[in-house]
C-alpha cells in the first residue's frame, strides 16, 4: 500500500526526470537528491534494518548515513 508523502505537493516541481518508485512512475526536477525525490512522493520506509524495523531518511546532511541507496544506473 502506498504511504502518502509527508510533504506538500511542490508547485514548482514541474516535470523533469521520470523514474520508477515501487513500481510506479514518478517525476522529479533535475537537481533533486534521490532522497528528496523519494520523499516528495512517498512517506514509506526506505528500508528495514537487520532487526526488521522500518527506517527512512533522517538528517538529509550525510550524517546518519541511513538513506543509502543502491545505484544501478549512472548519470552520463
Amino acid at each position: 500500500m502506498k504511504t502518502a508523502s509527508r510533504f506538500l505537493a511542490r508547485p514548482d516541481a514541474g516535470s523533469g526526470i521520470t523514474m520508477m518508485l515501487d513500481g510506479a512512475p514518478v517525476t522529479a526536477p533535475p537537481g533533486d537528491t534521490v532522497a528528496a525525490a523519494v520523499l516528495a512522493h512517498s512517506g514509506a520506509a526506505f528500508r528495514r534494518t537487520e532487526k526488521d524495523t522500518p527506517r527512512a531518511a533522517y538528517c538529509i546532511m550525510g550524517v546518519c548515513l541511513r538513506s543509502t541507496v543502491s545505484r544501478t544506473v549512472r548519470a552520463a
Binding site: R6, F7, L8, A37, A40, A44, M61, C64
Partner: protein, 457 residues
C-alpha cells in the same frame, strides 16, 4: 597528486570566506566540499535558488556574496568531493565520482561545520521522524514543505523553521519546546552581553511573535517525548506539559536540540579536543586564529565551536590571515591589522551565544536516555544495553563500542557518540572524546585498491 598552498575542507561560510581571503592574499587554494554546490548547510542551494524561495530570508540570500567571491583564479573548487582521510604533513585523500585523489599542501583548514545534536526518545527511529535541519535543507534544496508537521525540542532553528513554514502556508500543527522558565531565567544573566548582538535578539523575538500570531499551539517545559505509528504514515506524538499529557497526530515530527561541532575529521587527525560545558559538546582546542596542536592544521567555523554563520565567516577570514602570515605573504603586523575587522565581527556574533546556550540547553531526558530508547541508530543499540555494559565493567566509550557495537555502523558514531557520552556521564563514568578513524566517510573498496600503487611510490 595536486599541489596547493592551502586545502580547505568545507565550502560553507567559514570555508568560503577563508578561500577568498587566502586567494586574494596570493595563496593557491584547493576547496573541497561534499555537496554538489558551494554554501554549506547554512547557504545550501543558494546558488540555484536565485530569487525563488524568498521565504528563506535575507540572511540566507546574503550567502551569494560569499559564493561570488570564490570566482578567483587562485581557487580550484571541487564539489561532490568527500574527504575520507587526512594525514599529517599534510595529505588529504578525497573521493569524487567514485575516484579517490590525494592532494598535498603545507596548510589545511577544516571548515566542516556542525551537525544536529541527536534527540533520542522512544520511537525516534520511525519513518516520519526527522530532524528540523533536515526539513530546512529539503525546503532550501528541493522546495519540499512539511505537511501538518509538529516541531519539537529546543533551539532558535525551530523558530526560524516554524516562521518559514508559516510564510509558505505550511503552518506547523504545534511547537513543543523542552526548555523551562527556569532555564530562561538562568540564561537572563547573559542578556546584557547579548545586547551587543541586539539585531539577532530582535530577529528571534520577531520570529516568536510571528509564530504566536499565526495561532500555532505552543508548549514549553515539555518532557516525556514518545512517538508511535498509529496508521499507515501517521504518527502519534505524546508529551507532558503544564502537568498534563498531550498528544498530536502528525505525518511528520521534526525534532531539534541545537547543533554541535562536526568533530569526526578533527578527532581522526590527532587534534586535541575538550568538553565544553557551556555548549554540552566536544570541541577542538584552537587558538585565536583557529590553529590547532597539529602543525599546519587550522579549524574555523562551527566545527571549532558553535557560533553560527556570521561568526564562521569571520573565523574563516582570521584563519586565512594567519595562514597567509605563515606562508610568508603577510607580516605579523599586516596579519594583525587585517584581523581587526573580522575579529570585531566575530565578537559581535558570539555575544549572543552564552544566552542561547543557556536558554536552549539540551534537555536531560534527550541527552541521557533510558530504557528501550535506541541510542545507536545504525546498530540498534538501546540505552539499557549501554547501561548494562557499564555495569558489566565497560569503561569509557571504547569499551562501550566493543561491547555493544554502538558507533560501529556506517555513520561511525556521528549519531550516537554524544548520547553514549551522556549516558556515561549520568553513570559517573569516564567520558573522554571518542576516537574516530579513517575512512571518515564511506569509500568503495575499488577506490582503495586503485590508490595503492600511487601510495607505494
Amino acid at each position: 597528486m595536486t599541489e596547493a598552498d592551502l586545502i580547505i575542507v568545507g565550502a560553507g561560510p567559514a570555508g568560503m570566506a577563508a578561500a577568498s581571503t587566502a586567494a586574494e592574499g596570493g595563496a593557491g587554494v584547493l576547496l573541497l566540499d561534499r555537496q554538489s554546490r558551494p554554501g554549506g548547510q547554512a547557504f545550501s542551494g543558494v546558488t540555484v535558488n536565485g530569487d525563488r524561495r524568498e521565504f528563506l530570508g535575507k540572511d540566507y540570500l546574503a550567502g551569494r556574496i560569499l559564493v561570488d567571491a570564490l570566482h578567483n583564479s587562485n581557487i580550484v573548487a571541487e564539489y561532490g568531493a568527500s574527504v575520507w582521510r587526512l594525514e599529517r604533513g599534510a595529505r588529504v585523500v578525497w573521493s569524487q565520482n567514485d575516484v579517490s585523489h590525494i592532494s598535498s599542501a603545507p596548510h589545511v583548514l577544516l571548515a566542516g561545520g556542525a551537525q544536529e545534536r541527536p534527540t533520542p526518545f522512544p520511537g525516534w527511529t520511525l519513518p516520519g521522524v526527522m530532524s528540523a535541519g533536515a526539513a530546512q535543507l529539503l525546503m532550501k534544496n528541493a522546495g519540499l514543505l512539511p505537511r501538518d508537521a509538529v516541531l519539537a525540542g529546543s533551539g532558535p532553528l525551530l523558530y526560524l523553521l516554524a516562521a518559514q513554514m508559516i510564510d509558505t502556508g505550511a503552518r506547523p500543527k504545534a511547537l513543543v519546546e523542552t526548555q523551562t522558565r527556569l532555564s530562561l531565567l538562568k540564561a537572563s544573566r547573559h542578556l546584557p552581553q547579548a545586547l551587543l548582538a541586539a539585531t539577532t535578539l530582535l530577529k528571534g523575538l520577531r520570529l516568536i511573535r510571528r509564530i504566536r500570531n499565526a495561532g500555532v499551539p505552543g508548549f514549553t517545559g515539555a518532557s516525556g517525548f514518545r512517538v508511535r505509528q498509529i496508521a499507515d504514515g501517521d504518527l502519534s506524538f505524546s508529551f507532558n506539559a503544564r502537568g498534563q499529557e498531550h498528544s498530536f497526530t502528525t505525518p511528520l515530527l521534526l525534532t531539534h536540540q541545537g547543533v554541535v561541532p562536526s568533530t569526526h575529521i578533527s578527532r581522526a587527525s590527532g587534534v586535541d579536543h575538550v568538553w565544553s560545558d557551556a555548549q554540552s559538546a566536544y570541541q577542538p582546542v584552537t587558538d585565536e586564529w583557529g590553529a590547532t596542536n597539529v602543525p599546519g592544521l587550522h579549524i574555523a567555523g562551527d566545527g571549532a565551536g558553535i557560533g553560527g554563520a556570521e561568526a564562521a565567516e569571520a573565523a574563516g577570514r582570521l584563519a586565512a590571515f594567519d595562514i597567509l602570515h605563515q606562508l610568508g605573504r603577510l607580516s605579523e603586523d599586516q596579519r594583525n591589522r587585517s584581523a581587526a575587522g573580522p575579529r570585531s565581527a566575530l565578537r559581535r556574533a558570539m555575544a549572543i551565544r552564552p544566552f542561547l546556550d543557556a536558554a536552549y540547553a539540551p534537555s536531560r531526558e534527550l541527552s541521557e536516555p533510558v530504557g528501550e530508547t535506541i541510542v545507536c541508530r545504525c546498530e540498534e543499540v538501546s540505552a539499557d544495553e549501554i547501561r548494562k555494559s557499564l555495569i558489566d565493567s565497560a569503561q569509557g566509550p571504547r569499551h562501550i563500542k566493543a561491547a555493544t557495537r554502538a558507533g560501529m555502523g556506517p555513520c561511525q558514531g556521528r549519531m550516537c557518540d554524544l548520547t553514549v557520552c551522556g549516558v556515561l556521564a549520568s553513570c559517573g563514568a569516564d567520558m573522554s572524546a571518542p576516537r574516530a578513524r579513517t575512512p571518515i566517510n564511506p569509500v568503495r573498496l575499488g577506490e582503495l585498491a586503485a590508490l595503492a600503487p600511487s601510495q607505494e611510490t
